[in-house]
Symmetry: C2
Subunit: 347 residues, 2 copies
DNA sequence: TAGAAAATCCAAAGCGCTTTGGAAAACCCT
DNA sequence: AGGGTTTTCCAAAGCGCTTTGGATTTTCTA
């Protein structure tokens, strides 16, 4: 309760012990008897002792901080998926006694920031967000020697670093497959930016399903942009107003799906009847029903919680930091399919 | 380019100067000649010198980190407005050489975290998010002596601390007023949690407008919950299916407005014709059109960019940290009204 | 019970920076 | 040129922790 600030020296003086012993007692070293350890812990509690992070960090070379650099594009668009991911990650960090540090950066500054992070150990490790098909950050971080876990995967060398990803390819294959079986022949894909690896994999899955059914791949039915609501609206309108409109649309994000839904409604089309909509769903918390109780979702979707992903990536990174020279770990999550009300046989 | 790590000692040895002089040269102290300062800076650049944050922090007692504690509710719902706010704030921080630290916490842990932050100066200041009507954090932070800026305001004592807020009350008064002038008599308010101060002010504005026009305030037309999409959907359906349904609805967030739109569409009502929808709009980046070019918005709304707010709050906090005993500063932003396509005279 | 082994503790040296309190050098004026 | 300023620099003492290398005490073994 007391807000007085005690440091190690004062604490050990009050105990009549050396700083060494007190430090060791508190940090669980074996060369201190359980009796004194208990005494020390009690005193620390009572005097409200909290070690200074900067002093600890200076002495150990560890900061107990995980870095996230968030790429700020020219449009200052912040990826809303980021907040859910971070919620999960910071949860894992808090449990392990780590803090989360964020630095906003233009893409071209990112490399320099990593160097800065590492050279003066401001952070003990970083999470790499949004890996591209060609991902220079991975080699950079490896050469710097800064521990990292990638959320997603880069296009190549999947075994030289740790990552956690969902099976985007099979998710989209499954979704497309389902629509084809319903009878759809012209299916559009409102994809994310295909410089991103996840988007490329999704497209691959989509095309695989089409090919499997001997259906043509029409490039006019695929769009690729930053996944937000207006993009979903805009591209849906454009596609549906074209001469040979698709009968089904697959969205790479529920945000663009919401935009698509708005467009469809505005055009007087009934989802699931006149037009079919399906989407990938990151289970963004602010779009989820609060109760969560078994009510089936509105959109037909494949889903996987990005918040859970954040937590898992955080855990993986921390365990990697603790055991520095452990082998890279990979985790590939399957996403769940969920039939909602927005799909049906074509008219 | 070189990844070698040089510290002050090595740098000063290579220059044939003392650590004192080099440190002073780099930190812009006047007691060093411009000639040596230039020499020092050149060498620092060449050797890629970066001061160690923990050492600096230990020596100065300043961490150059701003703390944000994000309250994690039981539902693990992360406020999506948070990501945009943080984008703006971290931008301001980056400019001033500060980093942003996030710690996830259950509401009951928050006080302890502030104490922890301050006692060992892990952070130099904090941003207080989501102030309640009664806000214990303010007194706590004042007693601890940790600099802070509130995003929003608490209900009382507005002059003892720094804050930045939008004029929620007049914004909602204006919106309600507009709907009344269009001819609406039964107007619903889909509000945020009214334990939050901003929601209370919004309701006040809404009620003021009604009273000004001698219209009754019907508690059945007001709902109060966490602002997300499903909430908007659910409450809209419920309200519109009731015996004496409103002809217009005002939403406290564009997320619930999107939910409301979904409900309305599903019921076969045309927004702006059969039913009027208006909303407060935080200009969340992922709902904004990428081009931004003068296209009028879809929703009738009052708006103010929460990202800009984040940047401003960040700036205010940093200036307060730099000038510790400056008087509290307040900023009240007016929000802009924008007539969209979702409102019209009642049927 | 003596001697060795194990358990327990400590003084002091860092970690990499800032800053105090001077000292030395350079400059300025009459 | 001599005195006082002003400028320029430095040695060393912290900041609050961890950790090395011993010293001291206790426990165990025969």
């Amino acid at each position: 309760m007391s807000d007085s600030v005690v440091n190690l020296k004062q604490l050990s003086k009050s105990l009549g012990l050396s700083q060494t012993t007190v430090s060791r007692a508190l940090n669980g070293f074996p060369e201190v008897s359980e009796k004194t350890r208990a005494k020390v812990q009690a005193a620390a509690e009572k005097l409200n002792y909290r070690p200074s992070p900067s002093a600890t960090s200076l002495a150990t070379g560890k900061s107990r901080i995980i870095g996230h650099v968030v790429p700020v594009s020219e449009h200052r668009m912040i990826n809303p998926h980021f907040s859910d991911f971070v919620a999960g990650a910071s949860d894992a960090y808090a449990e392990a006694g780590y803090d989360l540090l964020i630095r906003a950066a233009l893409p071209e500054q990112e490399a320099d920031i990593y160097r800065d992070f590492a050279s003066r150990n401001r952070v003990d490790g970083v999470v790499v967000h949004g890996p591209m098909v060609h991902e220079p950050r991975i080699k950079l971080l490896q050469s710097i020697g800064l521990p990292f876990v990638v959320h997603g995967r880069a296009g190549d060398e999947e075994h030289s670093y740790s990552w956690m990803d969902v099976d985007n390819r099979s998710a989209f294959e499954q979704l497309t497959h389902y629509l084809i079986e319903l009878g759809h022949r012209r299916i559009a894909l409102i994809n994310g930016l295909e410089s991103m690896n996840f988007a490329r994999r999704r497209r691959l899955g989509y095309e695989t399903a089409l090919s499997d059914h001997k259906l043509p791949v029409d490039p006019d039915l695929v769009t690729s942009e930053d996944m937000n609501e207006p993009y979903g609206y805009r591209s849906t309108r454009r596609l549906l107003e074209a001469s040979s409109a698709p009968t089904a649309l697959i969205y790479s994000s529920i945000l663009s799906a919401l935009g698509g839904l708005r467009a469809v409604n505005e055009m007087g089309l009934r989802p699931g009847k006149d037009i079919s909509l399906a989407t990938y769903d990151d289970r963004l918390s602010f779009l989820q029903a609060g109760d969560g109780a078994g009510q089936s979702s509105y959109f037909t979707s494949v889903h996987s919680s990005i918040q859970d992903a954040g937590r898992r990536v955080g855990e993986m990174l921390i365990s990697q930091i603790k055991d520095k020279n452990s082998a890279p770990k990979f985790e590939l999550w399957k996403s769940q399919m969920d039939i909602g009300k927005t799909t049906g046989p074509p008219r």
